[in-house]
Point group: C2
């Protein structure tokens, strides 16, 4: 049997992943632990933590849910992890993606396999198709424009989401995340040039070049409710590159709001 | 004498430009008129308006202040302007910049010269240098990163501003504008990884490839106050590409808030 460790972040992804695995070991970064029984670990003691995983017979590791860059306590480092610091700090200069990739490399150097969500629950990543509703031509143009904007931001490790209405960009996701962006779009929805025209699209995609084994963008019922509050026509995302949690409830809410849900081929 | 027409937008730029000119004629797009005596015109009657300018001996036109894409009333078009609609609508598909450039072309085809702010009040566009304060190394890195992000967004006609703190992008300017972006950054300032670390930079630049005769990004005392409210270390901008209104008052407020103001060489 392959023993799997789950690094659980906050949000609804971790419980879904845990439920799909047989007797996983569940860990979480101290300070970012979700509301469930987990064993905490600290990045300052990464190497002893990896030793512990190996000692417990773990062969593969799944990252489930968002992890923010933690604040590091210089006094908490053990000597072996301390030796990794220059490497990780150097990577941080190039952004969070690079830093995370460096951490993943450390896992792999210890013989652990990093396993993506799609290997465990492929159903969570809808492939191309309309899940509900029907985007208009204008909606399709707005989705294409949002996809272009995110692709343009790719090299800069910024966001995974954008809102475009009537060809105009209302919001781009940054550090504060999706909910903050959709709140912003809701607050400024009245700026659409034609108030009775196309209502706009929330589009989500992984950053180009991001490591798809971790931190894939995630949608779910709450995203639908927030996008509905922003008055949008629907949600589109890069087919195969975005996690959709609780598909049934997401579709139900989209139908109630008259919105489409569209896994779009890039 | 060269007679100049000012197309006045909202904000403090138009009064500054008008004050610098001898007996200018002042016009404003209906619905976007600033709080001053102006002659309104409608985009739906652009060709008769241009005839009127020529008839009054106008040779050059200055655009002073932001103009938003107006809502068009199909019934208000005169026949000659109506013939331009397909051309302008086609340009709109490529974004506001393209649409505006098309409108400027129409002005020029009527023999009017479009004149940039720098030709009239060069002092409004600070060239390279520190106006006050002194950005740290971290601030300089944040400014460079924000400049890179805006450059990456260039082809998509999105924003002219971004906020970066500790290498992380807190906000990107979109349709709702600078004030909305800085309010957003202020609301989420607590997300900076190190709360006692570098406070972050508001950076502003024209969109790459934008027509520099119109709609240059503008900073002023209010920007300083808003950036201070977001807890930022300072404001940087592309030297020669950004208008700074009321330099003295802007510097006074920056000094009061302990912030730098930096016209940065790209």
């Amino acid at each position: 049997m392959t023993r799997t460790a789950v690094i659980a972040g906050q949000g609804a992804l971790a419980p879904a992943v845990i439920a799909a695995l047989e007797e996983p070991l569940v860990f979480a970064l101290e300070g970012f632990a979700p509301d469930m029984p987990v064993t905490p670990f600290r990045l300052e003691r990464l190497v002893p933590f990896l030793d512990e995983l190996i000692g417990q017979g773990v062969q593969r590791v799944v990252f489930a849910g968002a992890i923010r860059r933690p604040r590091l306590d210089p006094e908490a480092f053990d000597p072996r992890t301390a030796q990794l610091v220059p490497r990780i700090l150097t990577a941080m200069q190039s952004g969070d993606d690079a830093a995370l990739r460096e951490v993943l490399d450390v896992f792999e150097e210890h013989g652990l396999e990093i396993c993506g969500i799609e290997e465990i629950i492929p159903d969570l990543l809808p492939s191309e198709g309309l899940l509900t509703g029907n985007p208009s031509e204008a909606d399709r143009r707005d989705a294409a424009r949002a996809a272009d904007i995110l692709a343009g931001l790719g090299p800069f490790d910024v966001g995974q989401g954008a809102v475009v209405a009537q060809g105009l960009c209302l919001a781009i996701e940054t550090l504060p995340g999706t909910r903050a962006m959709l709140d912003f779009a809701a607050a400024h929805a009245g700026l659409r040039p034609s108030l009775n025209g196309p209502r706009g699209v929330f589009y989500k995609a992984p950053k180009p070049g991001q490591d798809r084994r971790v931190d894939l963008p995630t949608l779910g019922p709450d995203s639908v409710t927030q996008a509905a509050a922003a008055g949008l026509a629907g949600i589109a995302w890069q087919a195969g590159g975005v996690i959709l949690l609780d598909r049934e409830e997401s579709i139900r809410r989209a139908n109630a709001a008259g919105m489409f849900l569209w896994a779009r081929e890039e």
